[in-house]
């Protein structure tokens, strides 16, 4: 069983507990164990970088050092956490001065960064480590006819990690396809959800959410699949606010891709944290006759 250090980040503790649960439950089906990183700290999302870049990198490096101590590669389900961890890991290895300064600080916490581990987003585990073929083989409840909008958002694909495709990625579509569902042609799938502008510039963020919901609806989606808690909260929890602001009538379910994956794998809804949505996902259940396993 391959084991990873799971970095939940702040949002997965409560706000996105269903993402946490469904990530653990679905990966388990493929013989992958996600073990929560001991004693982790908040990675700062974007805000540490607003204050100081060295601080931002140090706080992220602490988490990497903790995972190194356990000898495990690092997995983050939150796209912002992932981006931070990925780039800190890369920047430190490229810069001996930065490495030295950060280790000088980490020493206070009895930790050191050695640069010995890899950083993944949870969607990488499905797309690359497990792969669509193996997913297909494990699907017991193919989601035939379910139209899913693959919402990539920003930081899984941007900024570029290793020169990979960023204008037309396909890995999310491939995962949805492997579940037996139909990935719809969602033109705005790479557009930003507004992220923390929902707190700092409400007007702009609501408009950004509106554009995405509208595009998903027009593309015929039954549900939007997300791979980030911030995207999920903006698209789902602010739908009422969008409807009030623009006089629209969106009722678009927004689930984590791991929750939809869990349905395809025959996991009970409860185990996937389904039921705590603010926009009901019930319409998709009547549409897909889900045979829930034990």
């Amino acid at each position: 069983m391959k084991k990873y250090a799971l970095f939940p980040g702040c949002s997965l503790e409560k706000m996105a507990a269903s993402y946490y649960r469904s990530s653990v439950e679905t990966t388990k089906k493929f013989g992958v164990e996600l073990q929560e990183l001991e004693d982790w700290n908040c990675c700062g999302a974007t805000t540490y970088s607003y204050i100081d870049e060295l601080l931002a990198n140090t706080l992220v490096a602490r988490n990497l050092a903790l995972a190194e101590k356990e000898g495990l590669d690092f997995v983050a389900p939150c796209s912002a956490c992932y981006k931070n961890a990925y780039f800190t890991n890369k920047y430190i290895k490229e810069d001996p001065d930065l490495w030295e300064h950060i280790n000088y600080a980490l020493e206070q916490d009895d930790l050191q960064f050695h640069g010995s581990i890899e950083v993944y987003h949870i969607i990488d585990i499905f797309a690359k480590e497990i792969g669509p073929e193996e997913i297909k083989a494990k699907v017991t409840n193919p989601l035939n006819g379910l139209k899913v909008a693959p919402y990539y958002g920003c930081q899984i694909v941007r900024p570029r990690k290793n020169g990979e495709e960023f204008e037309n990625p396909q890995f999310f579509e491939e995962i949805i396809d492997a579940m037996g569902a139909e990935p719809v042609d969602f033109a705005e799938r790479l557009r930003c959800c507004g992220a923390s502008l929902i707190m700092t510039n409400r007007q702009a963020a609501l408009e950004m959410v509106r554009v995405l919901l509208n595009n998903a609806l027009n593309s015929g989606a039954d549900v939007i699949a997300t791979a980030c808690p911030l995207c999920q909260v903006n698209l789902e929890c602010y739908q009422t606010a969008v409807n009030e602001e623009f006089g629209t009538d969106f009722k678009m379910p927004v689930l984590y891709f791991t929750q939809i994956m869990g349905l395809a794998l025959g996991l009970p809804r409860k185990q996937l944290g389904i039921g705590s949505e603010l926009v009901s996902a019930a319409p998709i259940f009547s549409q897909v006759m889900v045979k829930e396993g034990k």
């Binding site: 503790e13 706000m15 805000t47 607003y50 204050i51």
Partner: protein, 187 residues
């Protein structure tokens, strides 16, 4: 006998060197402005802001709301034909304005960031309910109602933490931060 750095140099200096190319190679093509999903809410487009930095229009750049309205989506960054990390530049200007307290007073972004960092330094993790009031009180009443409404609904569904989780050795953690930036308080 070094000359005083220009504003555009200061901004470049605030960008960690791994980001590579700061702003000088901008050809003013407008790809960034055309890509940016927030551009219509900004008083200067990303293209103009980069141009203003290169022209050392410090006051005008800092008075702009553009860099605080940047959502860090990196769409401009990956598309810039001159490989400028525009999102990274926006971060650099944010830092410049925070350290100089030169951002415009009516913005929520800086207050939010500072409050957030204070909480991290104290508990090691972000904790929404403590943080909430610091930014919520600077909102319009209508926005405030929406925020509270959402928070209450989420709380009822068990989606907001009730108590902050602390990291184990908070003293060590704070000592670590002190080796990077002054955070005040006793050690």
């Amino acid at each position: 006998m070094s000359a005083k750095p220009t504003f555009s140099h200061e901004i470049s200096n605030l960008m960690y060197k791994s980001h590579g190319n700061p702003t000088k190679s901008c050809i003013q093509c407008g790809t960034c402005a055309g890509t940016c999903p927030v551009a219509e809410y900004m008083d200067q487009t990303p293209r103009r802001l980069i141009g203003m930095i290169n022209a050392n229009l410090k006051e005008e750049v800092l008075a702009s709301n553009t860099y605080w309205f940047c959502a860090s989506c990196y769409h401009c960054t990956v598309r810039c034909p001159s490989q400028i990390d525009i999102a990274g530049v926006m971060y650099a200007v944010k830092r410049y304005s925070i350290w100089n307290k030169s951002y415009s007073e009516d913005l929520v972004g800086p207050a939010f960031s500072e409050a957030f960092v204070k909480i991290i330094a104290r508990s090691g993790r972000s904790y929404e309910p403590i943080l909430a009031p610091t930014y919520m009180f600077s909102m319009e009443p209508k926005e405030f109602v929406q925020e509270a409404f959402n928070a209450t609904k989420m709380m009822l569904k068990g989606r907001i933490p009730v108590l902050p989780t602390r990291i184990k050795h908070i003293k060590n953690f704070q000592e670590m931060i002190r080796r990077i930036i002054p955070i005040g308080g006793e050690s």
